[in-house]
């Protein structure tokens, strides 16, 4: 890989990315524009997260890449290969071993520490886009904390459906000022962002925005006193490992039509299965402690 610069990106680009990332960390939840580069994957396939990861990864880091909780999806594999080959870092599927985790739409089940960074791939960073088409107006609304229209949107949901129907991209108030999009993670993962030890970085390549939730920051999902925020719950546990405290995905047996629930975090599920077989395995604590 000697024909590429270390970490694929040229040094000037990395410097810009780091500067913008620092700014994002300094202003929690604020979307910092950056000059998103052409990457060897199409925009919309994780180029934002990829650029953020490449700008901060270095020798000695251990990388994990997940796509909807899975280490084995084609997209996760390709991104992992690209990063590890251009930056010569080791990779892992174990959340506890990783120093940098790039993710699409999930936060791992095991609680991350202040030694780790979680990089999110973000398709649509602007939470106000559903209620305001104009970028200029959205920026004004953020600056003035003029979020009443977003609130009305939630109110209208309740009027029509008796509940807030948003299941992902759930709006959160960060550090008491900006409302931001935590990327399309399920509601299940939203509480993990609140007062975490880990640095969360968000990269949106197509929309050219970076934002951050630093460690120990208040992250509060929007809710009403009489319609509090809630997370998904399931009537049974994971079909494979039996867990009842994880985020589960549905799948159907195409022959029998039967419905099964499996852990979305495949690495965690694997560990749980080993534990079930009384094999030696180290499993981290959950985010609730």
């Amino acid at each position: 890989m000697s024909m590429y610069n270390y970490g694929f990106l040229d040094e000037n680009t990395k410097r810009e990315l780091r500067r913008k990332t620092l700014k994002a960390v300094a202003i929690p939840g604020y979307q910092v524009p950056f000059g998103s580069r052409e990457m060897p994957v199409a925009r919309g396939w994780g180029t934002g997260g990829l650029q953020v990861t490449l700008s901060l990864i270095g020798l000695g880091d251990v990388l994990k890449v997940i796509d909807q909780g899975s280490d084995d999806s084609v997209n996760a594999c390709n991104l992992r290969d690209l990063i590890s080959e251009t930056s010569e870092v080791d990779t892992t599927t174990d959340t506890l071993e990783a120093t940098v985790i790039q993710t699409r739409h999930r936060i791992p089940e095991e609680k991350m520490t202040d030694e780790q960074i979680l990089v999110f791939q973000v398709p649509t960073p602007e939470i106000l886009r559903t209620v305001e088409p104009s970028e200029q107006e959205s920026r004004r609304m953020h600056a003035e904390r003029d979020y009443s229209r977003l609130w009305v949107h939630l109110y209208e949901d309740i009027v029509e459906w008796k509940e807030i129907r948003i299941s992902y991209d759930y709006p959160v108030l960060v550090n008491g000022h900006y409302i931001c999009d935590p990327s399309p993670i399920p509601r299940f993962d939203v509480p993990k962002l609140h007062q975490a030890e880990t640095l969360f970085l968000f990269g949106a390549g197509r929309e050219k925005r970076i934002y951050a939730i630093p460690p120990h920051t208040d992250v509060i999902p929007l809710q009403f006193e009489d319609y509090p925020f809630n997370v998904e719950s399931y009537e049974s546990g994971c079909e494979k490992c039996g867990s009842t405290h994880t985020y589960l995905e549905e799948s159907f047996d195409s022959n029998t039509g039967e419905r099964y629930l499996y852990c979305s975090d495949t690495s965690y599920c694997g560990k749980q299965q080993l534990k079930g077989q009384h094999q030696p395995v180290e499993i981290g604590v959950g985010w609730n402690g």
Partner: protein
Amino acid sequence: MDNRVSIRNVSKIYGKGCDSCIELTGPEHGRNRCPKCGTIVACADIGFDVYPGEVLGIVGESGSGKSTLVKTLYFDEAPTTGEFYLQDFEEGLSNVYGLSSLQKRYIRNHLMGMVYQNPHLGLRLDYSAGGNIAEKLLMADWNHVGDIRERAKELLTKTEIPIERMDDKPKYFSGGMQQRVQISKALANNPPLLLLDEVTTGLDVSVQASVLDLIRQIGRELGISMIVVSHDFSVIRMLTNRTIVMKNGRIVEQGLTDQIMEDPQHAYTQLLINSLI
């Protein structure tokens, strides 16, 4: 200070402006456009007071600057010059034109209500009637859906909108009902000042009468101060205690409404009154 609103020296100029703009425009020249530089002087030298519970009328023909003036009062437009004091904001000691946009938004949400001629400007026609009212309440940090809906019901009842239409979208409402929803929304946070810009223009006569009646009732029961902008003297006569007459962006006369109607002093006001059918 016991006047609720004080306006001093307000002007709004569109264009680069020159030294002669003010001098060469106004009612005595019969124009708004500066002949030297082409700048439009929408209004200039505007000053007046509104007292608690008083209804002030602003009357004038199209292009007199009355709508521009009321837009600067609601911060929809920034004035070129001028001062604006509100008794309910820091005891009327701060010129609210000079505040940050955050503070202005606070004033818009808590201390003022606005009803526009065109419901598209005052309402989100795609949200429910209740949602429109909720927006104002949410801006004032209401956070309980049940409470919000109670308040919305109360307001819609006051403005004679059937409660069962609360969750319908105003885009399916008649013009008169849309104005009623606008009024409910404007009143949501019990503002001490209500601005009404040509609210009955374009409505059927019977609907017009009922909307005006509603406005009068609100004024009487809530003791709200109002500024009513209209080109229609019958609206002005029905609603207001005092009236300002505007032409070419200036005030040509102000006085008690019955005095303006029966003993107009300025040539232009006399012309207007003599033209009434």
